[in-house]
């Protein structure tokens, strides 16, 4: 096992690899029955990649994204993200690592209803050492990037779904993370808003060199990515 980790690290120092998954599996045990969400998945994602993950509902897409975000731990296999086996860390280090390196975009936006657009974007920055004015700069840069600099003081309920998702993207990029993980980001949006969101993701990848993994059902959305991988019943289909 340890020699395998060494090998992976060597690869990582060559062309920078963002995600290296070797035979990772995830089994959920609930009471007496088991669900295999991921089944011996091998996956490499290079820096600067824009990958679309497709597959039917329940095929393990969210589970895979969660492993990469260190939100959940594989049951078996080796997973390195940014060359690190994150699960070696304690709770505090994992939290800080996620804050620094991962931007997560959800299908349902998950904005805090009592906070304005500005404050929602500022939230992850509260955990950093940035000063108030530095935070302000970061927030405004992120909101400009998603075209919402004129909605700073709006509460989520005063925004459209597409605008809410753009605030959520701004929040995901506020800490300038390396990786953006988007779980069906256009799933709840009309096609116009969906296109706006996809354009933003494309720009983040192209102009800002973010590595993006996007889960989607929608072939139109997948077309924005460089490449597409399919999951089925927890198994990653060959390219």
């Amino acid at each position: 096992m340890s020699s395998m980790t060494e090998d992976l690290k060597k690869v990582a120092t060559g062309t920078r690899s963002i995600v290296q998954a070797r035979s990772i599996s995830k089994v959920f045990r609930r009471d007496s029955f088991e669900v295999t969400a991921l089944d011996k998945v091998n996956l490499d994602i290079a820096e600067g990649e824009f990958l679309a993950l497709m597959g039917p509902s329940g095929s393990g897409k969210t589970s895979l994204l969660n492993m990469i975000a260190a939100i959940d731990q594989p049951t078996s296999g080796e997973l390195l993200v940014l060359g690190e086996n994150v699960f070696r860390f304690g709770d505090k280090e994992i939290a800080r690592w996620r804050n620094e390196h991962i931007g997560y975009v959800f299908q349902t936006f998950n904005l805090i209803p009592v906070l304005t657009a500005f404050e929602n974007v500022e939230l992850p920055l509260l955990l950093t050492r940035l000063t108030r004015s530095e935070r302000r700069d970061h927030v405004m840069t992120a909101l400009k990037l998603v075209g919402l600099e004129d909605r700073v003081d709006h509460l989520p309920k005063q925004l459209s779904g597409g605008q809410e998702q753009r605030v959520a993207i701004a929040r995901a990029i506020a800490t300038d993370p390396t990786i953006i993980l988007a779980d069906e980001p256009t799933g709840d949006l009309d096609s116009h808003s969906a296109t706006e969101v996809l354009e933003i993701l494309k720009r983040l990848n192209h102009d800002h060199h973010k590595t993006i993994v996007m889960v989607t059902h929608d072939p139109h959305a997948a077309a924005y990515a460089h490449s597409t991988r399919d999951l089925e019943k927890g198994m990653l289909l060959p390219v």
């Binding site: 800080r96 996620r98 804050n99 998950n110 805090i112 906070l115 509260l126 955990l127």
Partner: protein, 383 residues
């Protein structure tokens, strides 16, 4: 925005619920603050320097029994006793039996009563006028203000204990602390009308030369009359006043049990509210953790939110208590009963600490569970 302001926004996100929580905590803390203040006034307050020099002798068996007046001179002969004055409860009716018309009336010796109570303030001419008029009355200022009495006014007290109506003229108005909202008159007035009142005293109030002499002199007096037909009980003025409180029953246990019940009830109410409010935010907890919030920060955020609400309620309650008690203390309807009960700074601090503790304890368990929530489970949470 910073973390404290985020916590504050969360605390008041559901305005109606937060308001109700704050109000219920403030009501309980209002009660608790009053209880602490009354306790403090009864049991913890040091008497004023003058009051610490005063002792009271009464009949050993009951206040209803009288002592012979010759005790006065025997007591005066004890070294260390500076002044002795008899005080006789008259218990007359003023106008009617309404509570607002009830007040203390004492038949006493005008020559000496202001020497025992050196802290009472009276104009020398008024005192002299009262001493000259056998049918004169000296009334405490707050009592006089309440009944709109002025110098020269006539006051008729219908005798209950003694078969005589006291028809008095206000000759002096004096200032005393709240415990003494009383009317004083010359005991000779009663004795002349009712011969059997002669030669007897209800209590003797003494001024002694030093606080250290109180215990010795009290013991000497009681020893002196131990085998007399009317044995005595002598104690400090403070202890004597507490004796009235004790007549209400086991006041300490009563105050303590109400206080505990109040705190416990509010703890349950607050715990229930916090549990509900935290459960509703399960998805948000998962989101915050995804953004990089640690277990510890989630825990302290929720606990901080609850403590914030509780202290807010506590402040409100404590200041209402302060206001209520100061109103009650100066109201003659309370007869000076709550005179010593003031909300002091230490009481305020104790109340706020209790409030903070209620906030902390009520939020701890649900906050702890929230902090341990697995992100995957939180994100899948519906509701």
């Amino acid at each position: 925005m910073n973390l404290p302001s985020f916590i504050a926004k969360n605390a008041f996100r559901n305005k109606r619920r937060s308001l109700l929580t704050v109000l219920s905590i403030s009501f309980s803390l209002l009660l608790l603050t009053m209880l602490i203040s009354i306790w403090r006034g009864f049991y913890l307050d040091e008497p004023s320097p003058d009051a610490a020099l005063r002792i009271i002798t009464r009949h050993r068996v009951s206040l209803a029994f009288m002592m012979p007046i010759f005790y006065r001179e025997k007591i005066r002969a004890i070294p260390g006793v500076l002044q002795v004055v008899p005080m006789n409860w008259f218990g007359g009716k003023y106008k009617d039996d309404k509570p607002e018309n009830m007040f203390a009336q004492f038949g006493t010796d005008p020559e000496e009563v202001f020497k025992v109570h050196r802290d009472w303030k009276v104009e020398p001419e008024q005192l002299a006028a009262w001493q000259r008029d056998r049918a004169g009355a000296a009334v405490e200022r707050k009592l006089a203000d309440k009944h709109l009495w002025k110098l020269g006014d006539r006051i008729v007290l219908i005798g209950n204990i003694y078969a005589v109506n006291a028809e008095l003229t206000v000759r002096a108005i004096f200032d005393a602390d709240e415990a003494w909202q009383a009317l004083l008159f010359n005991q000779t007035y009663v004795e002349e009308a009712v011969p059997y009142a002669k030669g007897r005293a209800g209590i003797f109030a003494m001024l002694v030369d030093s606080p250290d002499a109180v215990a010795r002199i009290s013991g000497q007096i009681d020893e002196m009359f131990k085998n007399a037909p009317q044995p005595t009980k002598t104690e400090s003025e403070k202890a004597f006043q507490l004796g009235f409180v004790a007549m209400l029953g086991n006041v300490k246990a009563f105050i303590l049990s109400i206080g505990l019940a109040v705190v416990f009830a509010i703890l349950l109410v607050s715990a229930n509210t916090m549990a509900m409010s935290i459960r509703e935010r399960t998805r948000e907890v998962a989101l915050l953790k995804t953004l990089g919030f640690t277990r510890g920060s989630i825990l302290s955020m929720f606990v901080g939110e609850s403590v914030m609400l509780a202290v807010f309620g506590g402040l409100l309650g404590a200041f209402c208590a302060r206001w209520l008690l100061s109103a009650a203390a100066s109201s003659p309807a309370m007869g000076g009963f709550l005179a010593g009960a003031k909300v002091t700074a230490p009481t305020l601090i104790v109340s706020l600490l209790v409030a903070a503790l209620v906030g902390l304890l009520s939020a701890f368990v649900p906050s702890y569970h929230a902090s341990k929530l697995k992100i995957v489970d939180g994100l899948r949470h519906i509701g």
